[in-house]
């Protein structure tokens, strides 16, 4: 008798509870997804507006509607008759050089801070951390003085900008040092006993194991100059040939120009977004790993 009751309980009740669990999980998931979809739509609206307006042909100023009445590539064609290609090239060169140089500097810096032990190592780290908390803009006036004395402003803004972007990149050691710290030191030691120099250890052992963090470093190094406005505007100082896209495009939004260049501005914005979007779509897997990688090794 009692055995029967036990059997009953084990056959009925758990099944019911299981169904309940499944249902509530479905409900929770559904509501979460609905919320996420709403958020992403809200977030995407400005981008969609810009893309749509960049294809508008019937007028070049702001309109009260979003969907163009006449579609065409006029705005894109017009772009290439302005200084836009020059700005685009400027930005791309600055971003490319910064990405390469900054990645090398950051990775070497992080490896050094993670693996070498020297006097004032901790002090240096703390000092750089505090220093990096000050907004970079504080140094703007001094930097402009220095760059203009070197002749690296206005038309020559590009090398000046690269210098500014790369100069302080060592301070961005934090995330990659954290990642390197999670790689056991005995790997370095084994490699050194096996006959590797410190640089070979970094190249053959540490970097292959840190792919996500390397990609994260490249991406962030590329993104900084790509979207920079303040420094670029300051250093180019009104000279069109020294501007980057952000500064150049922004100038089209002033009172005198907005009526004839608003849709062109939108087209420019779309072109600026394309390489970054492609880059992120290809590398997002690593990027997410990189952002979270410092805490727990993947």
């Amino acid at each position: 008798m009692s055995e029967n009751r036990l059997l009953d309980r084990s056959s009925d009740a758990p099944v019911k509870r299981h169904m309940g669990l499944k249902a509530s999980r479905t409900l929770a998931n559904t509501s979460i997804y609905v919320l996420l979809v709403v958020i992403s739509v809200v977030w995407l609206i400005p981008f969609i507006c810009i893309v749509l307006q960049s294809f508008r042909v019937e007028s070049t100023w702001q309109e009260s509607y979003v969907i163009p009445k006449q579609w065409g590539l006029d705005n894109y064609r017009a772009l290439f008759k302005t200084d836009f290609p020059r700005w685009y090239t400027n930005t791309f060169i600055a971003a490319l050089f910064t990405a390469i140089l900054q990645t090398i500097i950051v990775l070497c810096m992080s490896y050094t801070l993670s693996r070498f032990r020297f006097k004032m190592r901790k002090g240096l780290m703390r000092f750089m951390l505090i220093l990096s908390m000050f907004p970079g803009m504080l140094t703007m006036i001094i930097l402009y003085r220095v760059l203009s004395d070197l002749g690296l402003t206005q038309a020559n803004a590009l090398p000046g900008l690269i210098l500014v972007y790369v100069a302080s990149s060592g301070m961005g050691y934090y995330v990659s040092k954290g990642f390197f710290d999670t790689i056991p030191k005995s790997l370095d030691e084994a490699a050194r006993v096996d006959g590797a120099t410190r640089f070979q250890v970094l190249k053959k052992i540490i970097l292959p194991l840190s792919k996500p963090i390397v990609i994260y470093t490249v991406l962030t190094a590329f993104m900084g100059p790509w979207g920079d406005f303040v420094f670029a505007r300051y250093v180019s100082f009104g000279t069109s040939s020294g501007m980057n896209v952000a500064v150049g495009l922004y100038n089209w939004l002033n009172k005198d120009q907005i009526a004839k260049s608003y849709t062109m501005f939108c087209a420019g914005g779309v072109l600026v977004a394309i390489p970054v979007t492609v880059l992120f779509m290809c590398l997002q897997k690593y990027y997410v790993e990189g952002v979270t990688g410092g805490a727990v090794k993947g």
Partner: protein
């Protein structure tokens, strides 16, 4: 294949902690030397100084007669096996083993030959294309050994290579290291905290404590002639029993009287005491658990004890006893010597008796803890 010589080697860390004091040792060519001691005794630090992974604060390390203090690890021609294997996770087993050869720019066909023959010796041929994460602990350790093997280095360093393995695998790998050593025929320096490993592997054992060498000797020397109480207790398991007692001399015969039992020191031991000119005095008497005899009835020279813990190991029983004044003694009794009735009598709180022969005693000075005969 090379000799290693350490002269007055000292290690002081940045925080002023001295981890190795004036370490002097000469390791002969093709010798297998084991550094053993409790954790924090400086044995790994010493090994890492030989490897070049730690700076040497004072003194010199010579490999094959060349002072290597200022040489990078890669220039010392040493091979090392680490406790956590330290395999390169992004490389296959083959690439792991080939790593050092590739750095030396050895031709690929020669690398192939060396790697496959090492893999064969270690029985890991079928895993050569796998990544380390797909291997078990024992297999990983074999890869780590393989990586060191192909180097043909002058000195083979091993830093607790077996301590991450489970007990069964550890015993198996220990036997394999003995075989490997015969095949490689090179100089080995092996660090462990496990006295069994030290005893079974080493030609000579270096017992360390707090950065100081306590004794250097063959396994039998350190077991039979421990120079001080630390070595006596560290080598052998369970550890040697220590008792405070009086060493007396009557008509040229020597006696000890632990806990009222009067036991005569055996002739040969008595001769040694005489030769060392030892005077009658209070001593710390050491007797190994396996040298004690269990009695169920009292006799003239027996020590009455109370049984506290009975550890049945299968082939033998470890009996933890306490004497009247709460001294703890351990006796190892082969199970085969006990009949069914006697086994039943080994119950908690039971009054039992211990005795031992005069041949197996060790005498230590209670103040300096030095061995009165060998110290």
């Amino acid at each position: 294949m090379a000799s290693v010589k350490l002269t007055d080697v000292k290690k002081v860390y940045d925080n002023k902690v001295t981890s190795v004091h004036d370490f002097n040792l000469e390791i002969k060519d093709k010798e297998f030397v084991v550094f053993v001691g409790p954790s924090g005794c400086g044995k790994s630090t010493t090994l890492r100084m030989i490897a070049g992974l730690e700076d040497i604060t004072e003194g010199t390390v010579e490999i094959d007669g060349v002072v290597v203090n200022d040489l990078q690890p890669k220039d010392r021609d040493i091979a090392m096996v680490f406790q956590n294997y330290a395999l390169y996770p992004h490389m296959t087993v083959y690439d792991n083993i080939a790593f050092s050869l590739r750095l030396k720019k050895v031709p690929e066909d020669e690398i192939y030959e060396k790697v496959t023959s090492a893999a064969e010796v270690l029985g890991i041929t079928e895993y050569l294309t796998r990544k380390p994460r797909a291997l078990s602990g024992g297999q990983r350790q074999r890869v780590a050994i393989g990586r060191a093997m192909v180097r043909n280095a002058k000195v083979f360093l091993m830093d607790e290579p077996l301590s991450n393995l489970d007990a069964k695998l550890r015993n198996q790998m220990r036997a394999e290291i003995i075989l490997l050593r015969q095949k490689l025929d090179t100089t080995f320096i092996y660090v462990t905290h496990d006295q069994t490993e030290a005893m079974t592997l080493g030609d000579r054992i270096v017992i360390m404590r707090d950065g100081i060498i306590e004794q250097v000797g063959t396994p039998m020397e350190v077991f039979e002639k421990p120079e001080n109480i630390f070595v006596a207790e560290f080598i052998g398991a369970p550890k040697m029993n220590m008792m405070k007692t009086e060493l007396t001399c009557e008509n040229g015969r020597w006696y000890v009287n632990p806990f009222g039992a009067k036991i005569e020191v055996d002739g040969a031991k008595a001769e040694e005491l005489k030769a060392k000119n030892v005077q009658p005095q209070t001593v710390t008497l050491g007797v190994r658990p396996e040298h004690m005899t269990l009695l169920f009835e009292p006799s003239a020279n027996s020590i009455p004890c109370k049984l506290e813990v009975n550890e049945m190991m299968g082939s033998e029983v470890h009996l933890h006893m306490t004497t009247k004044d709460d001294t703890k003694l351990i006796v190892r009794v082969p199970t085969i010597e006990l009949n069914e009735e006697q086994r039943k009598m080994l119950a908690y709180g039971r009054e039992l008796y211990i005795t031992f022969s005069g041949k197996v005693m060790h005498f230590f000075d209670p103040q300096t803890s030095r061995n009165l005969i060998y110290g």
